[in-house]
Symmetry: C2
C-alpha cells in the first residue's frame, strides 16, 4: 500500500511499524480478546502498559527521580492555563519570552491567570531570531520563566537553554520533545502535546519537578492538577488509553533506533541537508537566523509566489504531502520530525531541485 511522505506539522507522521503493530492487534490486544481501546485503564494489562511506557519515556530523556511524568488531556493549549494555575496565584508574576505564535498564545492565556510579563519578544524582527538572553527584561519575583523551545509556524528553535533566570524554566516542548537529548535538570516544567514526536493527538505529557507540586489554586480543575494527577499515576479519571498506548509504541521504536542521541544525529542531518539545499538556491529562501533555525519545522518561500499553487500540486503528486506553509506565514513548510525518514528529506530536496530547474 502506498504510504506517502507526510510533512504535516501535527498531527504528524508516525513510524509505519508502529501503525502496523497497532493495526495487527487492534481487535485482540495481548490475548485479552479485546481491543486496547476496550480494556479497563485499571486492569492489569493497561497498568503494565502505562508503567512500561512511562519507564521508557523516563529512560529516553534520562529524567531524574525528583521529576514526575504525567499523561494528561487537553493539549498544550490546556497547559497554557494549567501552568499558571498550578504554579502561581493571581497576584504572582511570571516571565514570558515570545519567539513565535505559540509563545504569544501561551502569554495571552497566562494574562488571565497572573501578572504575566513579556520579558522578550521576537516580534519586532518578524520572529526570525531569538533576542539575546542578555537583553531579556526579567522580573525579580517571577514564579517561572516560560518559553517555547521550538516554534512550528516560524521555524525558530532554542538550541541552547538560556542561563539567565533564577526562576524555574517552564518550556512548551510540544514540537521538539524526543527529537534530541534534553537536560531536564535545567527545567522546572516541560510539557508537550503528543502529535509531533510522541504519538497521535489526544495525550499531553507533562514533566514537573516535585518541589513545584502542591501549590495549585483551589480553582484548578482536578484533571489538570499536577499533584493529583501525579498521585494517581495520571489515572484520577479515565486517561486517553489509545493515544497513551500508541505513544508507548513510539517510545519503544525510538529506543530500538538508538534513543535520543540517534534521533538527534538523524534530525541534525535532515535539517542541515534541507537548509543547505535552500541556501544553495536562488529560488528558495528561509529567513530565519541560522543560530535558531528549527530542526523540526523548515519554512521556506519561492522566489515567485505565483508558483506556490503549482509547487503544492506537483509535490503532492510526487508523494510529498502537506508542504503548505501556515496561513499566518504563507509559503511552504516542511515538518521533519523523528518519523519523517531521511529518504523523505532527500526526495523533497530532489523535487525542489527539479521544480526549480523547470520553473525557476
Amino acid at each position: 500500500m502506498e504510504r506517502i511522505y507526510n510533512f504535516s506539522p501535527g498531527p504528524a507522521t508516525l513510524p509505519t511499524c508502529v501503525l502496523e503493530q497497532a493495526r495487527d492487534e487492534l481487535l485482540n490486544w495481548r490475548a485479552t480478546g479485546m481491543s486496547v481501546m476496550e480494556v479497563s485503564h485499571r486492569g492489569k494489562e493497561f497498568v503494565e502498559l502505562a508503567e512500561r511506557a512511562t519507564a521508557t519515556f523516563r529512560q529516553l530523556l534520562d529524567i531524574p527521580d525528583n521529576y514526575r511524568v504525567l499523561f494528561l488531556q487537553g493539549g498544550a493549549t490546556m497547559q497554557f492555563a494549567a501552568l499558571p494555575l498550578n504554579l502561581a496565584g493571581p497576584d504572582d508574576a511570571a516571565d514570558y519570552v515570545t519567539t513565535g505564535n505559540w509563545g504569544v498564545k501561551a502569554f495571552g492565556e497566562a494574562q488571565r491567570y497572573l501578572r504575566a510579563n513579556e520579558a522578550a519578544s521576537g516580534r519586532d524582527g518578524n520572529f526570525r531570531r531569538i533576542p539575546d538572553p542578555g537583553t531579556w527584561r526579567l522580573s525579580d519575583d517571577a514564579c517561572y520563566l516560560h518559553l517555547v523551545s521550538n516554534e512550528t509556524v516560524v521555524g525558530v528553535e532554542f538550541h541552547e537553554v538560556p542561563d539567565v533566570s533564577e526562576a524555574p524554566i517552564a518550556a512548551d516542548m510540544s514540537s521538539t520533545l524526543l527529537s534530541r537529548p534534553v537536560d531536564v535538570n535545567r527545567y522546572g516544567v516541560i510539557y508537550a502535546g503528543a502529535q509531533k514526536n510522541i504519538g497521535p493527538p489526544g495525550v499531553t505529557v507533562v514533566i514537573v519537578r516535585d518541589d513545584l507540586l502542591g501549590r495549585a489554586r483551589p480553582e484548578t480543575p482536578t484533571v489538570v492538577n499536577y499533584r493529583v494527577m501525579s498521585d494517581t499515576d495520571s489515572m484520577s479519571n479515565t486517561p486517553p488509553t489509545f493515544s497513551w498506548y500508541v505513544s508507548g509504541l513510539v517510545f519503544e521504536w525510538i529506543r530500538e533506533q538508538g534513543g535520543l542521541a540517534a534521533m538527534a544525529e538523524r534530525n541534525r542531518r535532515k535539517a542541515t541537508r534541507l537548509y543547505a539545499a535552500i541556501d544553495g538556491s536562488d529560488f528558495y529562501d528561509n529567513p530565519v537566523d541560522p543560530a535558531c533555525r528549527s530542526w523540526m519545522n523548515v519554512p521556506f518561500t519561492l522566489a515567485d509566489t505565483n508558483l506556490d499553487a503549482v509547487f503544492l500540486k506537483e509535490s503532492a503528486g510526487a508523494g510529498l504531502a502537506n508542504l503548505k506553509g501556515h496561513r499566518l506565514v504563507g509559503g511552504m513548510r516542511a515538518s521533519i520530525y523523528n518519523a519523517l525518514p531521511e529518504a523523505g528529506v532527500d526526495a523533497l530536496i530532489a523535487f525542489m531541485s527539479d521544480f526549480e530547474a523547470r520553473h525557476g
Copy 2:
C-alpha cells in the same frame, strides 16, 4: 480470532465491525496514504469527517438547532469543573442531586467554583433509590440543576426527566447517552465521556443550549470554554482526532442498526432479561428500587460472597469478562451498553444459572 463478551463499565466494548473498519484503514485512510491519526485536523478529509460525525450525532438525538455540539478533551471529570466555570460566577448558586458516586464527585468539584447546594441525595438509602423529586430542596436562584442520568457504580438511572426545576438541567449522561432517545429540549447542558456508548476514551461530547453560551468566567481555560469551542467547531486547538473518528464510526453503526429507538428496544430487552434472571433466583440479588434500575449497569451480589472469586474466575474462563463489581460496592456488575450483544446477556444468564446449580 477469539473476541470475548466484555462487561466492562468503561472503557467499554465497541462494535466489532467498527474495530474491523478502523483496523483495515489504519495505515491508509481514504486513500490519503496516511493514517487518520496522521492527518491535519484542518485538512479537507478530517473536517468532512468531523462534520459528518456531528451531523449523524445530531440526527440520532434529534438535537434542535438552538443547541451546539462540542467534542472536547478531559473527560466528564473535566466537565465537573467546566460546567460551573461556563455557566456561573463564584457567588452564584447551583443545585446538585446526588444519586451515586459520580454525582457526589460532580458536587464536590463544583463546591470549589460556586455555592453548590445538595438539593437531594440517595446516600441515606445507600444509593438504592432516587428521592422523590417532590421532596427536592431546590434553590430559588440556582443557575442550573445538576444530575447524573445514570450512575454506573450503583446502577441507578433516571427513566424520566424530573419536572421540578425552573433552572436549566445540566446532566452527566456519560453512561447512557446514545442508549435511548433523549428529549434534548428538557436540558440546558448534556455532557458525556465517550467511553461507554459513544466511542473510545479521549473525547467528551457536550451539548449546550446556545442561550447558555458566552457567560464563561475569565479564568475558564480556553479549551473548555463552550463559546470558544463552539465558534471553532471544537478545533480551537488540535482535537482528539482518532477518538472522534472511531466515535463517528460508532454513530454510523447506531444509525444502521435503526437509531436510538432500536438501541432502546434492545437495551430494554437485555436489562429486563438480566434483572428477571436475578429476581427469579434466590442466589443472586440486586438491591436497587425497580423504578430506577439502570439499563446500562447491573450490579448484583451472590448469596455467598465467599464464592465471588470462583464466580469471576469461571466467568472469565467462559468468555464473560470484567464482571467484577466496583471496589466501592463489591459483588458483581454487568455493564451492558449498546455494543454488548443480546447474545452476551443470554450467555451471562446461562452461566449464572449453571453456576448457581453447581455452587448454590
